[in-house]
């Protein structure tokens, strides 16, 4: 469970607030999309959830633990964060080493690490890539591998930051299927509204540092006026063909 | 500037390994004490890779057909500070030696010393000294130029010393040094300019990125540079020791080898006499015996070289001493103000 109460935040030294008075609650097992134009503060929310930025006002609770320095290790073990840029996510030489990185760091035994790694690779369907060098992977493979790297932690909460940005249509479809097959709480930020439409039941719209809308995905994604006034457009699949 | 394995004898190679190893161990200890030490490690890796890649970019030098490249050590330590910069350079040199035949496994210690140690530590001493009164664009250019020239000169001089101490060439010290130093003066100036333009760009875009050397590490840094001097002095003694070792072992080897090649004892005897006369003059005058014992002219060259080498060493230590003195003075005034 994730709970934000009256959360405001501005980056170090900057006077401008990046987020102001965010207030929402995500129950276990929900899939939530966070949408908004470039620079609306989507990524910042994600960074706050995992405690990469700690100087915020208000309170953020993850599974009843407040996000602060002393709880960080426990919280981070429960959250799998898939970065926008796969090249930053994958830093070990081979796929296997990278997927095994987290369980090793959390002190599991050799057998456990092996089991978790194989399981994670299998659930994504990339067992055959395990001995491959990272730089030999294609963009799509890199994305899939980076999901595996957090699945090996067996997190309760999965966070995806702009996941489809480097994917071709086929890999995008594959990604959506994988995403829908995964259990647990999922949070996806994107301006690919079709992706949100296909994967999330609930959507939060952010614009100008504030929360504009929080509710059913279908309702908001069909509301052209609301989307356009906040720098977004209807999902392609819902746009009526002109001509 | 990368030395190949064949340019070094194992004794000199090992000596340089010990020297560089000591500095590396010390740097690791230093880094561990830094507040954001965990964060520094990925930064060291990524920045090392950056330097590696950008060293492959050719920069056209206006008015000439030739090109130059970046001065990695100074660039890294101007962002990361000397200790992290040094470790990062070791990684770069290690990979260069394995994959691109730039340097070699045996020569790694020497290359780390000649490029990373001078580039990062002496480079950042100069950087710190120039930036003492605050950072400006002019000072960045000045520091980059002086830094690159000085560190390259020191590096080139070390290459000369290490090669000669290894006894692989018959070049007299003076000729060798007189070829190496001016070439590297030009290279240093060019690299300094390139590095300066990059650092100026960073200064305009993100000035907080640049290491100013005066932050919270002030107190520690004072101690650390003292220790570096101690290491330096130890090193000169070590290198000196290595050279004398070689000097004592080489003549036997020479006789033996000529006998092996020719089987002619007459030549051997002739060589022997020539060597003895040379040696008697040499041992009295020279700081670096061993590399010129064939003709009387080069014997004179040696004694000159001994004086030159001595003068450079002394001058270098004096400069370092002066910098430390200035630093202490500054530290005192700060304390008084407080």
């Amino acid at each position: 469970m994730i709970e934000l109460k009256e959360v405001s935040f501005s980056y170090n030294g900057s006077k401008r607030q990046t987020l102001s008075h965010m207030d929402f609650k995500i129950e276990e097992g929900e899939s939530v999309g966070i949408i908004g134009a470039n620079g609306a503060g989507k990524s910042t929310i994600l960074k706050l959830l995992v405690g990469l930025e700690l100087n915020y006002q208000g309170s953020i609770m993850i599974n009843h633990l407040k996000v602060e320095k002393k709880n960080l290790q426990e919280i981070r073990q429960k959250i799998g964060y898939v970065f926008q840029d796969s090249d930053s996510q994958l830093f070990m030489p081979t796929v296997y080493e990278d997927v095994a990185f987290a369980p090793r760091n959390y002190g599991f035994s050799k057998e456990q690490v092996d089991k978790r790694t194989t399981q994670a690779l299998k659930s994504i369907g990339i067992e055959e890539l395990q001995d491959r060098q990272i730089y030999r992977l294609s963009g799509g493979e890199k994305k899939l591998a980076s999901i595996a790297t957090v699945l090996s932690m067996k997190p309760d909460i999965l966070i995806f930051d702009e996941p489809t940005i480097a994917l071709d249509p086929r890999n995008r479809r594959r990604f959506i299927n994988i995403l829908n097959s995964l259990n647990g709480t999922k949070i996806v930020t994107s301006h690919d509204l079709d992706l949100i439409y296909d994967t999330c039941d609930r959507t939060i719209l952010i614009a100008d540092r504030k929360m504009i809308f929080d509710g059913d995905t279908k309702t908001i994604l069909q509301n052209n006026d609301l989307l356009e006034s906040n720098g977004l457009e209807l999902p392609l699949s819902l746009q009526k063909r002109e001509r | 500037m990368h030395m190949a394995d064949a340019m070094l004898s194992p004794v000199v190679g090992a000596t340089m390994y010990v020297a560089s190893g000591l500095v590396a161990a010390y740097s690791i200890r230093k880094i561990r004490k830094e507040e954001d030490f965990k964060k520094k490690i990925p930064t060291m890796g990524v920045m090392g890779a950056f330097v590696f890649a950008t060293q492959m970019v050719n920069f056209t030098i206006p008015g000439t057909g030739s090109s130059g490249h970046l001065c990695g050590g100074l660039l890294l330590s101007s962002i990361l500070g000397p200790f992290a910069g040094f470790l990062s350079m070791i990684g770069v040199l290690f990979i260069q030696s394995l994959f691109f035949a730039d340097g070699g496994i045996l020569a790694l210690g020497a290359n780390v010393w000649n490029m990373a140690f001078y580039g990062c530590f002496i480079g950042s001493l100069i950087w710190k000294f120039v930036m003492k009164k605050g950072m400006t664009k002019g000072r960045i250019i000045l520091a980059s130029l002086i830094g690159c020239v000085v560190t390259l000169q020191l590096g080139a001089f070390s290459v000369t010393l290490e090669t000669l101490a290894s006894g692989i060439t018959e070049l007299p010290f003076r000729t060798f040094a007189l070829t190496m130093q001016p070439i590297h003066l030009v290279i240093g100036l060019i690299e300094g300019f390139i590095t300066a333009t990059v650092l100026c760009f960073i200064y305009e875009a993100r000035p907080e990125m640049l290491w100013n050397g005066t932050q919270k590490t002030e107190q520690q840094a004072k101690i650390s540079y003292k220790k570096i001097i101690v290491i330096l002095v130890c090193l000169f003694i070590l290198i000196g020791g290595g050279i004398s070792l070689l000097a004592s072992s080489n003549p036997d080897g020479l006789e033996w080898s000529i006998e092996q090649i020719t089987g002619d004892t007459e030549i051997e005897a002739r060589e022997d006499r020539a060597y003895e006369t040379a040696e008697s003059i040499q041992s009295a005058t020279s700081f670096l015996p061993d590399y010129t014992f064939k003709s009387t002219e080069s014997t004179i060259g040696t004694s000159v070289s001994g004086i030159v080498g001595c003068a450079i060493t002394v001058a270098f230590l004096m400069v370092v001493g002066y910098v430390i003195k200035m630093k202490r003075k500054k530290g005192n005034t700060v304390n008084e103000q407080n």
Partner: protein, 266 residues
């Protein structure tokens, strides 16, 4: 810029070789590293006039290239720069050491010539030895081997990261260079006006990337001391290999087999 293309190609080639080399994959990386270092030490310690012993050391390289099925062709490209360097150094020897020791036909052979050839050969052999090492051992394996020598974790981590991101940046530089060249044809290198901004902006991006890499490591429980680098014990087979190679090297280095063979033949 050819240099960058070549670098990327070299890395790909070596990686491919190291991963598909069937025979040497079974030998523990630590042993491979150890034998290579010993070879280079023995090689460089040869007296500078001892051409014959230096030549004898080539036997090890020939053996490795045969057993490991690695070609020397690609290595030759890497040799150019080093040969030039050693050539400049070595050329002084024939000029300064003019004592004639023998004649081949009517051509006099001086000790300077001998020491020059010895130097060049040593240079070539040392490079080939490390080239064979990297052709038969991947960088991860070398890192594991370094871990066994108690090299500090921090340094190994840095080496691994440099290797990982080296290619990312090489490709980035390549793209920047292509973009630059399309708008500035007929230039061999980057013009001085663009020096700072071109590399500087790449540098800022690198710094930002370093930040995200750190965050991604941090979120997965990174700590430099517990950073995992696997260690595998050296098995019997590898020790046997090590033993035989050492014996071979000692024979080549200290017993004048070439002379013995020569004497027998004459």
């Amino acid at each position: 810029m050819n240099k960058i293309d070549n670098a990327i190609k070299t890395i790909h080639h070596m990686d491919y070789q190291a991963n598909y080399n069937t025979y040497f994959k079974k030998i523990h990386p630590f042993v491979k590293l150890l034998t290579t270092i010993i070879y280079i030490i023995l090689l460089t310690s040869i007296n500078k006039y001892h051409l014959v012993t230096t030549l004898a050391m080539s036997i090890y390289l020939i053996l490795i290239s045969i057993i490991g099925d690695v070609s020397i062709k690609n290595a030759i490209k890497n040799l150019k720069a080093v040969l030039l360097l050693l050539g400049i150094l070595g050329i002084a020897n024939p000029i300064l050491e003019t004592n004639v020791i023998t004649y081949i036909g009517i051509i006099p052979v001086t000790i300077g010539m001998i020491s020059m050839f010895t130097l060049l050969l040593k240079g070539i052999f040392a490079i080939l030895a490390s080239y064979f090492l990297i052709l038969t051992t991947s960088i991860e394996e070398i890192c594991f081997a370094l871990k066994m020598t108690h090299m500090p974790n921090i340094l190994i981590t840095v080496v691994m990261l440099i290797y990982r991101y080296m290619i990312v940046f090489l490709k980035e530089v390549q793209r920047i260079w292509v973009a630059y060249q399309m708008r500035a044809p007929k230039q061999k290198g980057v013009q001085y006006k663009a020096w700072g901004s071109l590399i500087g902006s790449l540098m800022l991006r690198s710094i930002d990337r370093a930040q995200t890499v750190y965050e991604s490591m941090e979120l997965r429980g990174f700590h430099p001391d517990t950073f995992f680098i696997p260690k595998e014990k050296v098995d019997k087979k590898s020790w046997t290999y090590c033993f035989f190679i050492l014996i071979l090297l000692i024979i080549l280095r200290f017993i004048p087999i070439f002379e013995i063979i020569g004497n027998i033949c004459i």
